[in-house]
């Protein structure tokens, strides 16, 4: 009897599977990279510099203390200072362009939650949490970088560690999902 190669040793099949896997894995890798990488911002905002000069976070992200959303600064906020300050770098030239035409800066929010999660900054700020607990050390970043794995387990973990006595309340589904 002629010795036949079993089907799984067929070269064509193997190449085909390899190609499909390459595409899928490549896609997956790209997806992972895209979702875990800081997005392209219209202006490469240097957080490190601004934090370094001692500007409080809430100066630009003013909503955090009063409401659910911290917010992204409007052109007014930036232009308020930078009209007077140094307009000589390329980044500031971009800002000047937005500022002089009074067009909003299309910021890309980095820390985002899905639609079905209702995160509220105010109680977290009121409980004395520092911004960097969740947002990382922005003093070392230019544009804000996402923290990987900020999922439900991440929230619960913190809630459990920080306030075990209130855990019933803080793990209630209706706290975030409605």
């Amino acid at each position: 009897m002629q010795r036949k190669k079993p089907w799984w040793q067929n070269a064509g099949l193997r190449i085909g599977i390899a190609l499909v896997m390459l595409v899928l894995l490549g896609g997956a890798a790209t997806g992972v990279v895209i979702t875990q990488k800081a997005p392209q911002q219209p202006i490469e905002f240097p957080h490190n510099f601004h934090v370094g000069t001692g500007i409080p976070c809430a100066y630009c992200h003013s909503g955090a203390e009063t409401g659910p959303v911290a917010g992204l600064p409007s052109i007014e906020t930036c232009w308020g200072c930078h009209q007077q300050l140094r307009t000589n770098t390329p980044r500031l030239a971009k800002l000047a362009e937005y500022g002089s035409t009074n067009t909003p800066i299309p910021w890309v929010p980095v820390f985002i939650q899905p639609d079905f999660v209702h995160f509220n900054h105010r109680p977290h700020v009121a409980a004395g949490l520092e911004c960097k607990t969740c947002h990382g050390d922005t003093a070392g970043q230019t544009v804000a970088e996402p923290i990987p794995g900020q999922n439900m387990g991440w929230c619960l973990d913190c809630h459990y560690k920080m306030a075990p006595e209130n855990f019933t309340r803080l793990s209630d589904c209706a706290t975030c999902h409605y």
Binding site: M1, T35, P39, G67, P109
Partner: protein, 709 residues
């Protein structure tokens, strides 16, 4: 031959499978980041992530309820009632609630349009400069007497402005009407009040404090005069603040929600309301051992009982109950005040009140302290007659849709053809807008300025503020601004006009005032309007009424094969609400039908005619015919059929077009002596068409009526 799957091969394959699995499970959206655009300049009162609430006034019907609109990042999210507003006290009806679906409607006109051909959608977009120039040109080139303004019921500020403009142009005063008006019999009350009390003001019925109420067809919970104010009144009436739970008797051929809310429903024969009211007046006077008033001289109790189908004993019992009560009240509206003898009916109802001396009494009848502009149908008829004769060269239309809501017998479309230029200010592509030459879209309700004078449902003077809660979504422009710019009126713009108009209010003793106009204006907007601290009604006197003599209306029983017609407005109001999906999705309170019209037929009648539920029925009057789906309605006289008003559009966008039927096609082009549209005398015949079209109802037919589905 045997080939073993080697361990290495197996590992390779399983790794590949695992990787594929991970890819399939782990693939999220390709990009999770979405650009978000913050404000370039943060508007006043806006905070990041927080809602801002603005007070304004509802323009959906003439009642003038105060609203608080929740806005979030520049968008109107939710309409709520203004809890401080004296008309509605924070309450709101379905139509007001869906007004955000008016602003964010999918079928709005996005900018000024020059129609290529009348009646066809689409046309050439023009700029606002061109539009204003065009209106200006029409003002200058047309003789004053050949200009006509046809306005809807809202808003009042625009009506005042247009009136000023008309007199400046030496044009006839603007004609104003609304379908709600003739369906509820509003103009009849105005006529009666002018006749007997000397002022064209609406009576205010103090339902809240009444003890026994006789209701002649008024749909006070749905659309009548000021539904939110009267709903609150109904609450007080039921709660019995001054004593026992109130007792209500409803005289109506069809059970509306208001009639159903009564403790007793008397299916009175259509057209006999005046007789019954007069008979009750006479019997009530008798029960109080008083002389029967002059006005009741002609009435014969026996004849009234016969004409109405209510036994004499019952009438006597009701009258003595009414007369014996501490705070009796009679109200009327709807189809009772929409016939040829509407004036007599309204007078009789007032006489019934007068005979128990409840004028200006708690739980009685007052006169609202605001003069209402005339909305007589006879004026509309006259205008269209003028158009037909070619004496109108330029017609301006705002806030009303005559091609839809006027009786087809009036043949408005024919009259339009004789008008050289028609300019519509409609925000939506309704029938009339499409039939005009230019559409210069006004802002919708939540985008525009104005004020609304509260005409009914209160005993205080109220001027309710309308302010924009969001920036206009499209390239629309306030009609007032267009008219001011084109007509050369002495105002800078609409806001200037409004501020000048509210100037007198600063010293009129309201709940607030301010030393100078800007702060007064700010407060006016903040509170949602200006109103007096307490009631300020003109005392009314019953003498003239009781001493008058009115002609006895002839009852007109329907012949065997014909049926009385009751048409009632629904949540769609005058029909302009028909383009809002959630008004369609809101079930009708009585029938739970959604998204379509129906014709209510009594089950006995239906059986006699061989009509079943969901059969398409042809309804024919002397003036036209329509087809509607049958709904066997148990709470209706067998000799009457009822039709909801508001659907049956030929235009007005995707949600309205071709949906339901329009009862205005059955109406006569007839006004009574006092100028109201006399549609309630219409007789119709029914015939099954053999077609079936199951309508969407929330109720289970099988569960509620016990018949199969």
């Amino acid at each position: 031959m045997s080939k073993k799957l080697s361990r290495r091969d197996f590992l390779k394959l399983s790794c590949a499978a695992a990787a594929a699995g991970m890819v399939l499970v782990g693939c999220g959206p390709a990009s999770r980041y979405v650009t978000r655009v913050p404000y370039a300049e943060m508007p006043e009162y806006q905070h990041i992530g927080k809602s801002t609430y603005y007070a304004t006034t509802c323009r959906e019907c003439p009642a003038g309820c105060g609203l608080i609109v929740r806005t979030f990042e520049g968008r109107a999210i939710k309409v709520e009632g203004n809890p401080n507003h004296p008309v509605n006290r924070g309450k709101i009806c379905p139509r007001g609630l869906t007004s955000v679906q008016g602003v964010y409607n999918l079928d709005r006109i996005t900018g000024p349009v020059m129609q290529g051909r009348r009646g066809k959608a689409g046309g050439q977009a023009i700029s606002w400069d061109e539009a204003v120039a065009l209106v200006k040109k029409r003002f200058q080139e047309t003789k004053g007497s050949e200009i006509a303004f046809l306005l809807g019921a809202m808003p009042d500020s625009l009506y005042d402005l247009t009136s000023e403009l008309a007199s400046a142009l030496k044009a006839p005063a603007p004609v104003r009407y609304s379908a709600l008006n003739y369906l509820e019999g509003r103009d009849v009350w105005l006529a009666v009040a002018s006749q007997y009390f000397g002022t064209p003001s609406f009576p205010y019925f103090d339902l809240e404090n009444a003890e026994i109420v006789f209701n002649f067809g008024a749909e006070f919970l749905e659309n009548w005069l000021s539904p939110m104010a009267y709903s609150r009144g109904y609450r007080g009436f039921r709660k019995g603040q001054l004593g026992a739970r109130g007792y209500m008797v409803s005289f109506a051929p069809r059970q509306s929600i208001s009639a159903a809310a009564a403790d007793e429903w008397i299916p009175i024969k259509p057209g006999s309301e005046a007789l019954v009211a007069l008979a009750l007046t006479r019997l009530a006077a008798y029960a109080r051992s008083e002389f029967s008033p002059e006005i009741t001289r002609q009435v014969d109790i026996k004849a009234a009982a016969e004409a109405s189908g209510i036994s004499e004993e019952k009438l006597k019992e009701l009258a003595s109950r009414f007369a014996g009560s501490n705070r009796p009240l009679a109200i009327g509206g709807g189809s009772a005040l929409a016939g040829k003898s509407a004036f007599e009916t309204a007078s009789a109802i007032l006489a019934l009140n007068a005979t128990v001396y409840n004028f200006n009494q708690t739980g009685g009848v007052f006169l609202t302290p605001a003069k209402a502009p005339s909305e007589r149908f006879a004026d509309v008829q006259a205008l269209f007659e003028k158009m037909r004769s070619g004496a109108v060269k330029t017609l301006f239309i705002h806030g009303v849709n005559p091609l839809f809501d006027l009786p087809a017998a009036l043949n408005a479309a024919e009259a339009f053809k004789r008008v050289e230029t028609i300019v519509s200010f409609s925000s939506f592509p309704d029938e009339t807008a499409l039939a005009s030459d230019y559409i210069l879209p006004d802002h919708t309700m939540l985008e525009g300025w104005g004020y609304q004078t509260v005409l009914a449902g209160t005993t205080r003077k109220i001027v309710s503020a309308i302010q924009p809660v969001v920036v206009p979504l499209y390239d629309t422009r306030s009609t007032a601004d267009v008219l001011i710019a084109a007509g050369g009126l002495p105002y800078k713009d609409e806001v200037d006009f409004l501020q000048q108009k509210i100037l007198p209010l600063m010293s009129a003793g309201g709940t607030f005032t301010a030393p100078e106009l800007p702060s007064f204006w700010a407060k006016f907007l903040q509170y949602g309007g200006w109103w007096q601290k307490s009631a300020d009604y003109a005392a009314i006197d019953a003498d003239a009424l009781l001493k008058s003599s009115i002609s006895m209306p002839e009852p007109h029983p329907a012949p065997a094969d014909q049926y009385h017609l009751v048409v009632y407005p629904t949540q769609f109001g005058d029909g302009s609400g028909a383009n809002r999906p959630w008004l369609h999705e809101t079930p009708n309170p009585a029938t739970t039908v959604m998204w379509n019209s129906w014709v209510e037929i009594h089950p006995q009648t239906a059986k006699k005619l061989g009509i079943h539920d969901d059969d398409v029925v042809r309804i024919r009057s002397e003036f036209g015919e329509i087809e509607a789906v049958a709904y066997l309605y148990p709470a209706l006289r067998p000799d009457t059929v009822a039709l909801p008003f508001g659907l049956g559009h030929e235009a007005l966008g995707r949600f309205a077009e071709g949906r339901g039927c329009n009862p205005a096609r059955l109406f006569p082009n007839a006004s009574s002596q006092n100028g109201n549209l006399a549609w309630a005398d219409t007789l119709v015949s029914l015939s099954p068409t053999g077609k079936r079209r199951p309508i969407a109802r929330q109720e289970s037919r099988h569960g509620v009526y016990g018949d199969g589905e």
